[in-house]
Symmetry: C2
């Protein structure tokens, strides 16, 4: 095999990095912390985008676009928000370069200093609520249900491709409502849209719940989230939906006239997912042979490989594969023939396995004689030889099975690695091996902080579906009404 992937048992971090690089998803750029998303990786992101965009529109949202830059003073308007976001960011201070006096290259023109610095948006609540101020006068202007697809920048010290990069791509929804109840309903609606997307498209089971106060978005009253378990038992927060109350409306003085003519502050939500989802996708399904892509998000769903000796043999085989490709495409299944002549078929097998293509077809001279074809599933690595006739229909049935199977595998894995623990001592030992822990917690930030300091684990969420169960906090012994999910996280 040309490109060897480090096994995840041996070095998990290296395994992840190998997958991203060797499957041609992304790479580091010349700019520290910023990545280049390569065509194969971007094709997956495009499918994520298109699907989510449709889900957003089906729930009544529209897209818009707000500026990349935020005046520095805007960030200070909302007290908690500035603490969370105004620290590590890209600051634009000048608007011109000039030829260097020494004749070598260009330097910043000191005369072109901006009166007020601009921040490259780390998130857009402030600039958007400053805009909404002019859009909202009366209850008739509400709700506003906007989303934007954009790039954002958070200056990260330690970066990892897709998981934590200085620049990343995302969508951010920003909605404005007349009532508290409507905004809360929207916050819930969107976290469930994310849940649906994770389960049905990404084949990733997620736990839906609320963050504790200390894990909330800076400026939110409540943060809902979806949490997924990665192959190393760590959690990855895959999407968040925030109920912002009237915090941003007050910070930017956005009031509306009610039907009855009173002036009230507007209620807000925001919600987002990012290219981080690519990291979740990789770390949920992949194995030591490479990626395993869910059929619904795979840029290529079927790879067709000719096995041949001479050129004449190839011509016949290629013709047969081309016909198959046409049949697949007529059914809306994407297919590609790999007829490169400079690599062997074993190399091709390994390469498309590495790239996670769900179904592989291989056609050789004996198959041509027997009118058969070899079909291999990426998820189970099973191979079988089937008649050529009806193979497109077979694949049409197989793809949803693969989609479900990898979901089930991920769910089984999560269940196997989810533990109910009541003793803090036991927790401290077992957290070393990863996994989700369902534990009682006394609801205080102090206990949460103590757990984090002593174990590096955090409360990932208070799950919506956690049953009421009287118990005692595993740390302090104080009463608790339900279990929360604890894990180490990305």
């Amino acid at each position: 095999m040309a490109k060897e992937v480090t096994s995840y048992e041996e070095n998990y971090a290296q395994w992840y990095n190998d997958l991203v690089i060797k499957a041609d998803l992304a790479e580091n750029s010349a700019v520290r912390g910023c990545m280049v998303i390569k065509p194969y990786g971007y094709a997956i992101w495009e499918k994520i985008q298109a699907t989510l965009d449709k889900l957003f529109k089906d729930t009544g949202h529209v897209n818009a676009y707000f500026p990349l830059f935020i005046p520095k003073s805007f960030l200070s308007q909302e007290a908690e928000h500035v603490e969370g976001f105004a620290k590590e960011c890209a600051v634009v201070t000048h608007h011109r370069l000039m030829n260097s006096p020494d004749g070598k290259g260009v330097v910043v023109d000191p005369a072109a200093k901006l009166e007020e610095e601009l921040i490259v948006r780390p998130t857009s609540e402030t600039i958007i609520w400053n805009t909404y101020k002019n859009w909202i006068k009366s209850y008739r202007d509400l709700p506003i249900l906007c989303n934007q697809w954009a790039n954002v920048v958070r200056w990260e010290m330690r970066t990892r491709l897709f998981l934590r990069t200085t620049e990343f791509l995302w969508q951010e929804g920003h909605t404005a409502h007349a009532t508290r109840a409507e905004a809360i309903e929207e916050t819930r609606r969107m976290v469930h849209v994310y849940e649906k997307f994770a389960c049905e498209w990404m084949s990733i089971p997620v736990i839906v719940g609320a963050k504790t106060a200390s894990e909330r978005f800076a400026g939110a009253i409540d943060t809902l989230c979806i949490e997924a378990m990665m192959k190393d038992g760590k959690a990855l927060q895959s999407g968040t939906s925030h109920f912002l109350g009237q915090n941003f409306a007050k910070a930017f003085d956005v009031q509306f006239a009610t039907k009855e003519g009173r002036l009230e502050y507007v209620w807000a939500t925001s919600w987002g997912v990012s290219t981080r989802l690519m990291g979740a996708l990789i770390m949920t399904h992949s194995d030591n042979n490479g990626l395993v892509l869910p059929p619904k998000l795979a840029p290529i769903q079927t790879i067709l490989i000719p096995i041949h000796k001479g050129d004449e043999e190839l011509a016949q085989i290629r013709e047969c594969l081309q016909q198959l490709k046409n049949e697949l495409e007529a059914k809306g299944i994407s297919a590609k023939i790999d007829d490169r002549d400079n690599v062997r078929s074993g190399f091709k097998f390994a390469e498309w396995e590495l790239k996670g293509v769900p179904v592989r077809l291989a056609l050789g001279p004996r198959d041509m004689q027997n009118q058969t074809i070899e079909i291999a599933r990426r998820d189970t690595l099973e191979k079988q030889v089937l008649p050529q006739a009806g193979i497109a229909g077979f694949i049409e049935d197989l793809l949803p099975q693969i989609q479900k199977n990898i979901y089930k595998k991920a769910l089984d894995f999560r269940e196997k690695n989810t533990f109910i623990v009541d003793s803090y001592e036991e927790f401290k030992q077992r957290i070393e091996n990863g996994g989700f822990f369902l534990c009682h917690w006394d609801g205080t930030a102090e206990t949460e902080e103590k757990i984090k300091e002593e174990t590096k684990a955090t409360i990932r969420c208070i799950p919506f579906d956690a049953p009421d169960e009287a118990g005692r906090c595993m740390v302090t012994g104080k009463p608790s009404a339900k279990r929360v999910v604890l894990a180490r996280a990305y």
Copy 2:
């Protein structure tokens, strides 16, 4: 009418601005020179994007994503490029803010100064060719046919919504080829993709040709373009495709091994269109009542308005309209019912006219009795009453007619305002009234510069389809082989 639009005869610039603002396309933001693209404007841009994206993919291109930031030193690598782009730009110098010592807000942390400043990309040739260096080793790695959809920043002193903004959205294609001929072919292919898009989707006739040396992209060997005529007779460059030769390959040392094993520099192209196209769309078709959108790009193709007195009447009419809406949507035609109860139907008529919706249906009590409906075309402002039965089919036929009609109107306008002139004196007088001028030019930058200085007109392009015609330069009398297009431009 609630929102009056300044007439374009009276004040063209104000007319344009009124349309953008009052039709809810975009507005200025709190950040100087940056716009907010509002949902209605963004919906048009999404259709532009989706169509172009398909045209790019149909011609073999894939999408990728490259960093927002460019290290300052990269811009200096290509000598002409730095002159064109490294001057007015957004410069990131720091990566952290801190609480102000006086306790008021945040200030730039002087300790967080970057070693090398980063420039917010004004265009991405440099960062992309620095990346391609690692992607290209042999002829087997070529061609690379990448496009990216992105935001870019050019610090503009005077800005106008869509036409010239500090931040704008665009796509930039960047391709790498083994031979000069192939790169030239790609450059031509893409300018023709833009031509096709302008004509068939935007209903904008364009002149396709090559720029003169002084109007070329900074770093290009040849720049091809499409030029459109706006309602005031000025030209708007609507898309460009550049043959970059080996300039960027040499600047970033990108060589490949040929089949024969020689090392050669790679050949490059780049091509782009931006949100500027929105300006072209507005200024080609609109009138004093507002926008006139080509059906293929209209977010709402049919608006349905109930004319009613009481609530009971409304219920019946709404039911009928809903059925019609379903029929239209079943045919893939977008439709919206405007049943607001706080504005009169006259207001609604004016508002949807302003927003350029191609077809309006109005249904009142008499129509209900007669089973008729009033249909109005936005392009001709013609109204007629037709039977309700078959109206969806009628609209299905009508939309392509409107699409063609506004193209023809724009073409007629351009032809009426295109003049063959051989005397420089005559040119100097007539250019004051706008229009395209087909003139002989001696091919020198000096003459071009003189014309520009004396008349503010530039050579828009040397059209591909200009017939060979021996003549004499209108300024110097020197020989010329074909006429070029001169105009004042946006």
